[in-house]
């Protein structure tokens, strides 16, 4: 379903993900995109002509002359994820824990020339907040189990087409043990890799110190996930992150 769809004028196409159906239509120079969330999960299916198109769809149209193909590309939410773990994990002081969490993907819809037409969430959206009520980060809420390397194979036997595996290392640099129940994962520093129906991101290194949480990426795929190709590059490269940190430091020093 993560593929290129060639559209015939006047025909409605549908791609089915577990929680959402995405519809396309081409009418002259107008390209329509709509999505419908489902109460019950459905079996995923690649692009096909839609026989029973719901009447209540909210179509969003774009004008594109001479385009005939649409490509679906996986992407992470533009917001950071707040991952609520299904089971809280206790981490002793000085211990680094390696594992995997699963992040919900979005579908980026591109026209033939690479123009981005839309970005659609593949799961019902829910926001969350990471920080104090006065200062923090607005996130997309996600729920995931914290899966050890030995368990990953079981999870990847039937990978969801709307999820990306995110390798993660959590280090407790505090003097006391900590209860890990939720995590903040910034998405602008992560690339998405894909292969054999599985999507994965860069490894995320989270270290909890007495000053707070520090998150940084470790470029490249996790060895367990095998060889994959980059499907969506990180929005923020190392240079930009370095510059942002420099500016933050300058602001901190000058108080401006």
């Amino acid at each position: 379903m993560w593929s290129t769809v060639t559209l015939s004028p006047g025909t409605v196409y549908v791609i089915r993900f577990p929680s959402v159906s995405i519809y396309f239509r081409a009418e002259g120079v107008l390209w329509g995109v709509a999505s419908e969330f489902l109460d019950k999960p459905q079996r995923p299916a690649p692009a096909a002509v839609s026989r029973n198109t719901p009447k209540t769809l909210d179509w969003k149209y774009s004008a594109l002359l001479g385009a005939a193909e649409l490509t679906l590309r996986p992407m992470l939410s533009p917001r950071a994820y707040e991952v609520l773990l299904t089971h809280a994990v206790s981490i002793l002081p000085g211990v680094e824990l390696d594992g995997y969490v699963f992040l919900p993907l979005q579908a980026e819809i591109l026209a033939a020339a690479g123009t981005i037409l839309a970005a659609l969430p593949l799961n019902r959206r829910k926001y969350s907040w990471f920080g104090t009520p006065q200062e923090g980060t607005l996130c997309d809420a996600a729920v995931s189990s914290f899966c050890a390397a030995e368990e990953l194979g079981r999870f990847l036997a039937e990978p969801g087409p709307d999820l990306a595996v995110c390798p993660i290392s959590v280090r407790n640099d505090m003097t006391e043990s900590m209860e890990l129940s939720r995590l903040l994962i910034p998405t602008d520093i992560l690339s998405i890799y894909g292969g054999a129906g599985i999507f994965a991101t860069d490894r995320v290194l989270c270290s909890f110190t007495s000053d707070g949480l520090q998150v940084r990426p470790k470029r490249g795929m996790d060895p367990l996930l095998g060889r994959m190709e980059v499907r969506h590059s990180a929005r923020k490269g190392p240079e930009e992150r370095f510059f942002t940190r420099g500016i933050d430091l300058l602001r901190y020093i000058t108080g401006i």
């Binding site: 707040e82 969350s128 907040w129 009520p133 200062e135 923090g136 607005l138």
Partner: protein, 281 residues
Amino acid sequence: MEGATPIARTLEKLNLKESLNSIFTLDALLSILKLAGILVLGLIIVRIAVSLTKRLTRKTLSPRTSELLVKFVRYTGFFLIAVNLANAAGLDLSALLGAAGIAGIAIGFAAQTSISNLISGIFLLTEKAYAVGDVLDVGGGTVGVVDSIDMLSVKLKTFDNRLVRIPNETLVKSNITNVTRYPIRRLNINITITYGDDIEKARRVLMETADANPWILRYPAPIFIVDGFGESGINLFFGVWFAKDDFVDAKNSIHTEIKRRFDEEGIEFAFQTLTVYQKKG
């Protein structure tokens, strides 16, 4: 002398040569150089100060406030240059300053309100209690978006599209609530259910409703409090958090959904009731 030209004769009469000699002495030249130095150096310092003020205030303050500060720095600089020049030229400023003081008192009486507003505005600027684009509730009555922060007043654009000018002095004296200061807010919902309803069931339904609502944040978690036993029923308090930009969506959807779920689950909203007992006989 007989053979001198008329111009030379006139100069001789005026004794101009000596006069010019007395003016263009070395001391006079040094004084002129000193004045020129003060002027040039002063202008350079003012220019640097203005440039620095612009840079420092560009990102932290609104354009209007920044411009106000820049103007203040520039004119203060010009004033200081003028005072220094007068001082260096040997002018006695005490009389001028005395006159300025008297004039200042007169102007002060005449423009008491304006000056009060101006000073109040400076205090408010330093407090940084609000910025352009914030939603303010002034004195519990006037609510609107800050349209501009000026020298004497703040202009609010109300939600029914009126422009309200509030003098800075009034703002200093009033309670100002900055509704949008923080990125997230809590919506407080007070509900009264009948005494026949199950509190635990109401709690479960409310929590489920908040969980299913996309605009309501998962964290901070919703808060549920049994507020007490009222005259008509059990008072419940339900607080849910949302991103400040989603105010309308969050408020509309959560109220609609609570009503729908309560109807589905058979939970009754309590009305104001009065039980009347009729005495027999």
